[in-house]
């Protein structure tokens, strides 16, 4: 049976995983201000929901689940409220744009245009380097679903950047 955790442990784990959470939020939102907003909201939710964390689960996975949910809520709200318009190209501040090459821009542009599920899967699998099993837990989907979303994301990105994409055969 899953054991409830000690509050002080959660407090310690939050501080430990804060940088990882912020990196993930940066990749999801593509904007440092929005990433900070998302993380602040996520931290508030951690405070409210820390009892739902079980010590058997990975804290990082649990925190990322919350970050994904906050980001989804934020995007949903924005559809109705017309909040601040972020640049179409996520992750790219005007000053940074000069520093990265053209190909990166095109890939980032395309990642920003992907449907939410595919974007989240691509960021978690490729940006965060997580296993399909972990990604499935975070997004609440099945492993085959993770693979198919990743395949679709790769296909779209490859097409957008004129890349001849040949998927590898999985054993």
């Amino acid at each position: 049976m899953a054991l409830p955790v000690d509050r002080s442990l959660v407090d310690r784990l939050v501080v430990e995983h804060l940088p990882a959470g912020l990196h993930f939020a940066l990749r999801l939102t593509g904007n440092e201000h929005s990433a900070e907003d998302v993380m602040q909201e996520a931290l508030c939710r951690v405070l409210r929901q820390w009892r739902s964390f079980r010590s058997e689960a990975s804290f990082k996975t649990w925190l990322f689940q919350i970050v994904v949910n906050v980001d989804r809520d934020r995007r949903r709200r924005r559809t109705f409220e017309t909040l601040d318009r972020e640049p179409a190209c996520p992750l790219a501040e005007p000053a940074d744009r000069l520093a990265v090459d053209e190909m990166d821009h095109r890939v980032r542009d395309e990642i920003g245009r992907l449907p939410d599920r595919q974007r989240e899967v691509a960021i978690l699998c490729l940006g965060e380097g997580m296993r399909a099993e972990e990604v499935a837990t975070i997004l609440g989907i099945t492993e085959p679903n993770v693979h198919s979303s990743l395949h679709l994301a790769r296909k779209r990105i490859a097409k957008a950047i004129g890349f001849d994409y040949a998927p590898q055969k999985r054993s």
């Binding site: 602040q40 508030c44 409220e81 691509a122």
Partner: protein
């Protein structure tokens, strides 16, 4: 090209670097939230304890009354006649209440105070009160929209209290459309309080109404009160604009309030960034605050001047420290923090002059003590 090289390309594009200030800001936010939650928990526990005590006292009171009743029956066997206690005369402020004639009751008549309490708890009473408040606020909005009255006099002349008007305006602000939102904010600027801050900060997150919402906030709390609002704001852009408004005001009070944010390690980076990008920078006020009686204000003024630096500020600092032997150490500290040819030249000159070297060394020691 195969899947791996595509993945590498995507990984490369997804590479991000979080700033250390961002992480430290979030850590500070987490600490603050933890502290706030601990306070809430303490308050909740105290309330629960107070409620339990109240219940215990009520039970004891009821039990003792019950015992007395028993004694009465023994002492007076004839049927007890319930007499109504003397009615409480309503105070002149007591509102006239339209109470229906009650059905004949075997108990005593309710007193005026009880009638008032029952009425205020009945849904009909609440609805009527809300209806009248809503109509008052409707009138207010109309007066302001049509220009019949300015918001301040409309609020002052309203038949209900400012707090009630504020509550109703805040309730409407969330759902209102663009045009009405502006009017509501105009009225809030005249009759709002700190209670309006969360709602106005929420409105300010939308770029469409940000300027109006922040202007309303400034009108309510004044430029010197904006530091408190900055601490409540969760949106970094909003915090930045609020800080720049404090600097643009330029008064001693508002700049001192801005410096209180510089003293806060969690806000310092943002405050520097706001000062660095401010259109209107209060150089004169900061120089005046270098002589403040409060050492924290002097130090934070030196920090800001040193951070912003620039030829103009450096020149003024050089003039200040070379003209006066008793120039504050903080002016020397600001000069030490300045980058540029002029600052470097002067400091080289000062280190070769025994009468100035002491000041330079003192400022260096002070910087080292601050451990920034």
């Amino acid at each position: 090209m195969n899947e791996d090289s595509l993945d590498n390309q995507i990984r490369e594009a997804l590479r991000v670097e979080a700033k250390t200030e961002q992480v430290s800001r979030l850590e500070a936010f987490w600490e603050a939230e933890l502290h706030r939650q601990r306070q809430k928990r303490t308050v909740r526990r105290s309330l629960a304890l107070a409620a339990s005590l109240l219940v215990a006292v009520s039970i004891v009171g009821w039990a003792s009354r019950h015992d007395l009743g028993g004694q009465d029956v023994v002492e007076a066997p004839q049927p007890a006649v319930q007499t109504a206690p003397p009615a409480i005369r309503p105070s002149p402020e007591t509102p006239q209440i339209d109470v229906d004639v009650p059905a004949p009751s075997i108990g005593r008549e309710p007193t005026a105070l009880e009638q008032l309490v029952f009425y205020s708890h009945s849904p009909r009473g609440v609805d009527r009160a809300n209806e009248s408040l809503a109509s008052v606020v409707d009138d207010l909005i109309e007066q302001v929209q049509t220009g019949q009255a300015d918001p301040q006099s409309a609020v002052d002349d309203a038949a209900v209290s400012t707090a009630e008007i504020e509550r109703e305006l805040l309730r409407r602000l969330v759902r209102s459309k663009d045009g009405e939102k502006l009017t509501l904010m105009k009225i809030l600027a005249a009759g709002g309080s700190m209670k309006s801050m969360p709602a106005l900060l929420r409105v300010s997150r939308s770029a469409a109404h940000r300027d109006e919402a922040l202007a309303t906030i400034e009108q309510i709390v004044g430029p010197e009160g904006l530091a408190r609002v900055v601490r409540q704001a969760s949106n970094p852009q909003v915090r930045m604009i609020l800080m720049q408004r404090m600097l643009a005001d330029g008064s001693d009070e508002s700049v001192a309030a801005f410096l209180s944010l510089v003293q806060d390690p969690a806000r310092r980076a943002e405050a520097f960034s706001a000062a660095g990008s401010a259109n209107s920078f209060p150089t004169e006020t900061l120089f005046a605050l270098l002589r403040s009686d409060d050492q924290r204000i002097r130090l934070s003024a030196a920090l800001v001047l040193g951070h912003v630096n620039g030829p103009d500020i450096t020149r003024k600092l050089v003039v200040l420290v070379s003209a006066e032997q008793s120039a504050p150490t903080e002016a020397w500290m600001a000069l030490l923090a300045c980058r540029g040819e002029l600052a470097e030249k002067f400091l080289n000159y000062a280190t070769g002059r025994p009468q100035l070297l002491g000041h330079v060394n003192q400022a260096r020691v002070q910087w080292a003590r601050m451990n920034l």
